[in-house]
Symmetry: C2
Subunit: 138 residues, 2 copies
């Protein structure tokens, strides 16, 4: 009872993982996650398929954190919080970007607006806790 043919097993595994997680993984995080169950997976395949998903609109690049691109299988535009300490990329699902802004942006620049991205940076609650409990002076 195979869900996917052998031919696309890796591609499917990458997309499935991307859709199942909310950690907004980098290519390497995807690789590390899937390697144990797919021992002959290679980084090339991960990058190749992530880029393919971007082209096809099955995934988006949500941020570049310390030089590393982060991906999201949730292509609905939503807001992110990026922790400067642990590099976590966290969904702020309760917030949404005012749809009206896109129209305003188009007017401002006179061009054709296709996407928008709102993200906050700071220290996430976990890292805040650790800083206090661990006595790590800020």
């Amino acid at each position: 009872m195979e869900v996917s043919t052998k031919h696309f097993r890796k591609r499917d595994a990458i997309l499935t993982y991307l859709r199942s997680t909310d950690i907004h993984p980098s290519a390497e995080m995807v690789f590390t996650q899937l390697k144990p169950e797919i021992p002959d997976l290679s980084m090339g395949t991960v990058y190749r398929n992530l880029n393919l998903f971007k082209q096809q609109g099955l995934a988006v690049s949500v941020a570049t954190v310390k030089g590393v691109e982060r991906f999201d299988g949730n292509t609905e535009p939503h807001v992110h919080f990026i922790c400067q300490d642990c590099d976590a990329v966290i969904d702020l699902m309760d917030m949404n970007v005012p749809e009206s802004l896109k129209a305003v942006a188009a007017q401002c620049c006179g061009g054709q607006v296709e996407g928008c991205q709102l993200s906050f940076t700071g220290i996430c609650c976990n890292c805040l806790d650790n800083q206090i409990k661990g006595g790590k002076a800020v």
Copy 2:
């Protein structure tokens, strides 16, 4: 009538250029711009000082476009438009991020919000024009 001592001439030149332009240059763009007037400038110095400015809050990193970090000497939070065709990063000065959003974000994630970034992607007016005039099919 030297504005800066010889010791800081390069650092100052980089910051001055960064503040004088609105093209949101990459490290290489800064280098290329200043090299003619400062022939012995090196890329190491550009990167070193850009990172220093970021730490000191004199500059910010506004985006990573096709793997290349882009800088801004204007540290006031404002909105950007990124052209997917020519990689231009353009200020949308008429728009501003609702200050209230930051508070909402802090509530959402329970962490400490320090900055926020709103950017739109699409095709800028120049590239739109070129596509039409040049007859380049999309």
